[in-house]
Amino acid sequence: MAISRSVLLASVAFAMLAAGSFFAGPVAAQNSELAKSELVGKIEGPQLVLDPAQMPKEFHEAPMLAELVKAGKLPPVKDRLPAEPLVIKPLNEIGKYGGTWRRGFTGTGDVENGNRINASDKLIFWDESGNKIVPSVAKSVDMSPDGKTFTIHLRKGMKWSDGAPFTADDFTFWFEDLYSNKDIVPTPIADMSVNGKPGRLVKVDETTVQFQFDDPYFLFYDMLAGDTLIGGGQSVRQSQTFTFGAYSPGHYLKQFLPKYSSEEEVNKRAKAEGFDNWVKMIHFKKDWSLNKELPTLGPWHMVNPINTPNWVLERNPYYYGVDTVGNQLPYIDRVTLTLAENTEVINLRAIAGEYDLQERHIDIGKLPVILENQKKGNYTVHLDLAINGADTILQINQSYKADPEVAKWLTNADFRRALSLGIDRDQLNETFWLGLATPGSAVPAESSPYNPGPEWRKKWSTLDIKKANEMLDAIGLAKKDGEGFRVRTDNGQRLRIQVQTVRAFLPWPNQLEMIAQQWKKIGIQADVKEVERTLAMTRVLNNEHHIMVWNNGGTELFYLFPRHAIPVDPTEAYMGPEFAQWYASNGKQGRKPDDPNLLKIFDLFRSAAGQQAEERYKTAQEIWKILVDQQYGIGTVGQSAALMGVRLVSNKLGNIASRVCIAQHCRVPGGSHPEQWYYKQ
């Protein structure tokens, strides 16, 4: 034993010396090199002009709309805009009208592609840094000091894309006629309640509505701004049979509800149009990606649906945004998304210059080829870096019980820490992220208010094979078999840990191949199982997995999308399906955790909804500290451009930011205000 360990150490040392020329340079200088690289710019974005005194007095419109006005088919632009439009100062210069934005999508499952383009249909949104909340559809949102009432001020005179008025009635319509209708929404959403008590949405006057709760719910303000069920906006939250998002075009959808005629009539109509019943019909009718008659609020509305080879959007003549000299936005006339049957084809077409701005589905592994072809394809590459700490996180199932021996180790903190210390993150970074990511734990970026402190990046998250071996020896796994793998304590056979992965955004199976090889050095046999996605989900739901690999995007705004940090959402609880059920059902289903740290996490999380922002940040930091210390989820590398961070922009486009926020809540590309992009020629 002793001999093999020193040989191990010697070879590691030798390897490190040999690698010196390779790593010492690039890794130490990595962040500064990256900073010097032209590919990563500074975060920037168009500013909103909120001072009413600076509102433009005269307004102008796109030529294609001016023609319609002349022909009498559209009211003049002044009447189409709200009395107080959203004024956006374009990033670089005032733009020109015209042009078609070419983009690629992969099918009906890729509806997010278009949802994000229309992200300005949210009530409130985030600024370019992703840290500050700014107005969007709503003129402003006020939170009462006790956190129980949220008043939303709408824009007077704002209209839907078909010209009908957008008022508080659209909110009450949503709340009373859609959300409260059990046929359409069978179960209320957690977003709308605090401490188990459901809230209400009431109309105050034509341009004011209020969300009212019985208990303090300070978090709700963030939820309205975030990509949540309630705050997400009409396009994302009312497509694909969802019915959330706080408002809906009542004047159009009323005709499909039994309440306004009769169940018989709407069913008859449904059958006539080819639907089974009125419920199916209304789910279709309120889906902006399928039904082009549906009024929407975003910069472009749909003219050719998503279930065809060409998903086409055209400018919304009633869009509520203008630039600083009064030009009604958007500048770009049209968006055409062309269908590619798979992501390789999208990448190939992007490299060939067939898209004008594409960040979605672009594979960071192809970066060298993409860079090579910049001139030929007439595009520029921008790298946007994420805020979440782990593009690849190994979630260890704490509620696993099928094999007691394995369960014993999965729930042992030192076992998990040793696994984490056995991962060579620099190697992963170099191979799969081309050195562009930040290795370390799963906590969000240091710039985020949720980050618990710089020392938590490296805690338990460096390569220390010696320590890992010592820890594993100490907890009772010292015995090894003939090939150096540790054996089980119950039957002396080799201990095998199954790591389940799918082939999704990142080449996880390949990454796990590398990790499994690295774990050889600490005597752990990992069986990497790449399975088909649905099967993986089913196994997780049945509490069958040991470790599941995913990424922790969304956890940078901890409370809005916590499922990849802590097991609180039963639909996707890699860290402990039974515990998530227990938490979500308030103890009625699932199983209560024995681990006091998990219980503490649940308590902290539960208390957060009623805390003010500053206090909430501290609570989140406490939770992150426990997570890193306990290594329930082993973070590897993160804060990278791997997911929607490699942005190819045609050189014909203007007002393009050199770097944007790509965190989940920033809704890239929506967060960079595509309505102020324009074609320079």
Binding site: A18, S21, G25, P26, P368, Q518
Partner: protein, 388 residues
């Protein structure tokens, strides 16, 4: 026919005047040779087929000695060796002697193009040797050893030997191709055997008996043909025990799927049987009182043995292609198993074509073996042709 020719051969030798005459003439040899000998002689004439047979045999040899032929652990990953192009081998040493050697390499990532640029380390020189020391493995799965066909003297092959380059994870391609041969060549065999057996059996019954049995089997074939294999595959993959390795799962699934893969051969066999049923020699055999079984196996089967051989020799490469296709769809073998399909999957993307085209070499053994199987099958078919 065999018995009679053997008997006549014996009589020929026993006949008294034989002992006096010279060695039997060529025609006589042919007249008295067994069917097997005839087949072998005809096969030998077809040069291409013989060489193909040799190649197939060589491939299987490689498959058996896979780890011996590899020189680096095909699973071992290292970011520092990522995407190394195939290197040049210097045959002559500085003093003019024949002593092949290679340079060591150092790599650095160019932060403008993000490619790793490898430069030769002029100081480091690794000499190649046959039967050198390398990573540990079990020969034939039994004998632990560290000897490999090729390696470097004094040092690790990982640090300098990259005959065909490396992949994204820094794994040597030569070693991976060698080890992939094992799974790719063996995994389809059982399935092909099952399909072959079922195809001949059911096709034969169908063609020979005709009538209701034929109808039933034909309809069964249509139903089976229409079964979508993909959800079957997915369902089986889910149903098999979780702790089986991907290789075991794949093997089990190929055997199961081969229970529905016999339909093509069955239809061809049936067609031939239908045609042969009316042949004179079949009628003669029936009249002579031969049993059904005897007629099928002794008289009819040899007539289209060639088709069966042709079909089998196409089935094996078809298995290989289906393995690669399924891996492409993400349904077949998965890493960490190593097969040609998996190697090709790594090669099927733009970055390979653009930055690391040497990875496409993995397609070469696939192409070669399929060609070899086809020529071999061709030659066998020609040789077994009863009228040749």
């Amino acid at each position: 026919m065999r018995a009679t020719s053997a008997i006549s051969g014996i009589f020929a030798r026993l006949a008294p005047w034989r002992g006096v005459a010279a060695a039997p003439s060529a025609e006589e040899r042919i007249a008295f040779a067994t069917q097997f000998q005839l087949t072998w002689w005809r096969f030998r004439k077809h040069r291409l087929a013989v060489w193909s047979g040799v190649i197939v045999a060589l491939f299987y040899l490689v498959a058996i000695f896979a780890d011996f032929i590899a020189y680096t652990d095909p699973h071992a990953t290292d970011a520092r060796r990522s995407y190394i192009p195939p290197q040049a081998i210097h045959i002559f040493d500085a003093d003019g002697s024949v002593s092949p050697w290679v340079h060591g390499l150092k790599g650095k990532r160019d932060l403008k193009t993000f490619k790793i640029v490898y430069s030769v380390d002029p100081e480091s020189k690794l000499y190649l040797r046959f039967f050198a020391e390398g990573y540990r493995y079990d020969l034939f799965g039994l004998i632990p050893t560290t000897t490999h066909l090729i390696g470097v003297a004094d040092g690790n092959a990982e640090d300098g030997l990259y005959l065909l380059g490396t992949d994204l994870l820094g794994r040597d391609l030569w070693s991976r191709i060698a080890v992939a041969t094992r799974i790719s060549l063996f995994i389809g065999l059982a399935g092909v055997m099952v399909s072959l057996f079922l195809g001949v059996l059911l096709g034969g019954i169908s063609g020979l008996y005709g009538g209701t049995i034929d109808t039933l089997i034909q309809r069964l074939i249509e139903v089976i043909r229409s079964i979508p294999t993909i959800p079957l595959w997915m369902g089986l993959a889910a149903a098999l025990p979780n702790d089986w390795t991907t290789t075991q799962i794949y093997f089990a699934i190929t055997v199961i799927i081969s229970f529905i893969g016999w339909t093509d051969l069955a239809r061809v066999v049936r067609g031939r049987f239908l045609a042969l049923r009316g042949e004179d020699f079949v009628t003669a055999a029936e009249l002579a009182g031969a049993s059904r079984m005897r007629i099928i196996f002794r008289h009819m089967l040899p007539s289209f043995l060639s088709h069966i051989i042709a079909a089998t020799s196409l089935a094996l490469p078809a298995m290989i292609i289906s393995e690669t296709s399924l891996s492409f769809l993400g349904l077949g073998l998965r890493p960490p198993a190593i097969s040609w399909g998996i190697l090709l999957q790594d090669a099927q993307n733009i970055q390979t074509l653009g930055i690391a085209p040497w990875l496409l070499v993995s397609a070469v053994p696939v192409i070669v073996i399929i060609l070899a199987f086809n020529f071999l099958g061709d030659g066998l078919r020609d040789a077994a042709d009863p009228y040749g």
